[in-house]
Amino acid sequence: MVWKKNDEPPHPEPTPAAPPRPAVPTPSPAQAGGPTSSHEPPRRTDRATIGASIFIKGDLSGEEDLVIEGRVEGKVDLKQNNVTVGKNGKVKADVSGRVVTIEGEVTGNVFAREQAILRQSGAINGNIQAPRVILEDGSRFKGSIDMETPKELGGLNRERDLRPETSHLEANRAEVAGVKAGA
């Protein structure tokens, strides 16, 4: 096609300024619905905290990270998220999470999909089941540690197939069961 002078597009007419619109929050890239974000769940970066003065009896589950600084009796089940028992935290329960970090006291079994960390200030009276376990010197631990590799865990239902055959905590389990029944 040969360019001709008449083909030149006309300059756009200046338009009056658009009337001011009410301010709205600018959507974040995730909210804007990009090609990837439309298929992914919104990323959760928040974490819930159970404060030092809180006492919970019963089961805890959810889809965000959890920090426990208070007391929990029952069951903590956040398999896809990180669970931290803070220095003030006292948990009488089985704790399941992706990365489970213990800085306080846990009486119960710990199941971590990726890693279990027992900090120097922490204490566990129970069994740990995780592919990787870190015990800091000075921490207190009584129980067993089963470090299964992810390959070994493939296709298994952790809770069903890898439930410890034995536990040092039968009495505690019974106590927790009693709590749950009453909760």
Partner: protein
């Protein structure tokens, strides 16, 4: 607090929760440890560690894919024998503090230098309790002092690699050593035999007992 307790504040020093040893840790070659790891290589084993929970040991043992039980008997003895002598730990004591489920069986037991801190009668009760959880072929690793005196508190042992142990001494004070002889050990640990024994230059005799 007793001489036994790994969490004692005296004579061991603690600063901000960190354990301080009274001397620089010593690294010694361990021939029995090397033999033990050769024996269990490639097997999924159940291990009982009778010492305190140490991250380095847990990390090292993780390469063997073992299931590790930790029962800090040193700490338990601290609650039972305040002065380290006098009142003996009887069968009830070991039943209470080694509250291992009856059906559990161990392939490897790390007794470390525990024998040195148990009187002969106590050692008998201890052996009887452990035997219940060992099938034929189970291995027990123990370190016995052959010197006249030994540290008043047990060492903390860290596995550096398959052939080396780190000895962390926690007190400068000494106490008489029982100096159990190999025949005495097999007499106490009925059902076990001394599979291998190595006398090391720093005054420790290593024992690898095997359940018959």
């Amino acid at each position: 607090m007793s001489w036994f307790s790994p969490r004692s504040s005296s004579p061991r020093k603690e600063q901000q929760g960190r354990v301080q040893t009274v001397a620089e840790p010593e690294v010694h070659r361990s021939l029995a440890l090397a033999a033990l790891f050769d024996d269990i290589r490639g097997r999924k084993v159940q291990v009982l560690d009778l010492g305190p929970a140490l991250g380095s040991n847990v990390e090292f043992l993780s390469q063997f894919g073992c299931k590790l039980f930790i029962e800090d008997l040193y700490a338990a003895l601290a609650t039972r024998t305040p002065s380290g002598d006098g009142e003996l730990a009887g069968p009830e004591f070991f039943a209470e503090f080694l509250a291992i489920p009856e059906e559990t069986r161990f392939d490897v037991i790390f007794a470390w230098d525990l024998f040195n801190y148990l009187q002969r009668k106590e050692l008998g009760h201890f052996a009887a309790r452990l035997s219940r959880h060992c099938d034929r072929g189970a291995r027990l690793f123990a370190l016995i002092s052959i010197l006249k005196t030994m540290p008043a508190q047990p060492f903390r042992f860290k596995i550096q690699d398959e052939q080396h142990l780190i000895y962390e001494r926690r007190t400068s004070t000494e106490r008489p050593s029982p100096r159990y002889a190999p025949l005495e050990v097999t007499d106490i640990f009925k059902g076990f035999r001394v599979d291998r024994s190595f006398l090391l230059r720093h005054g420790i005799q290593e024992f690898l007992l095997v359940k018959d």
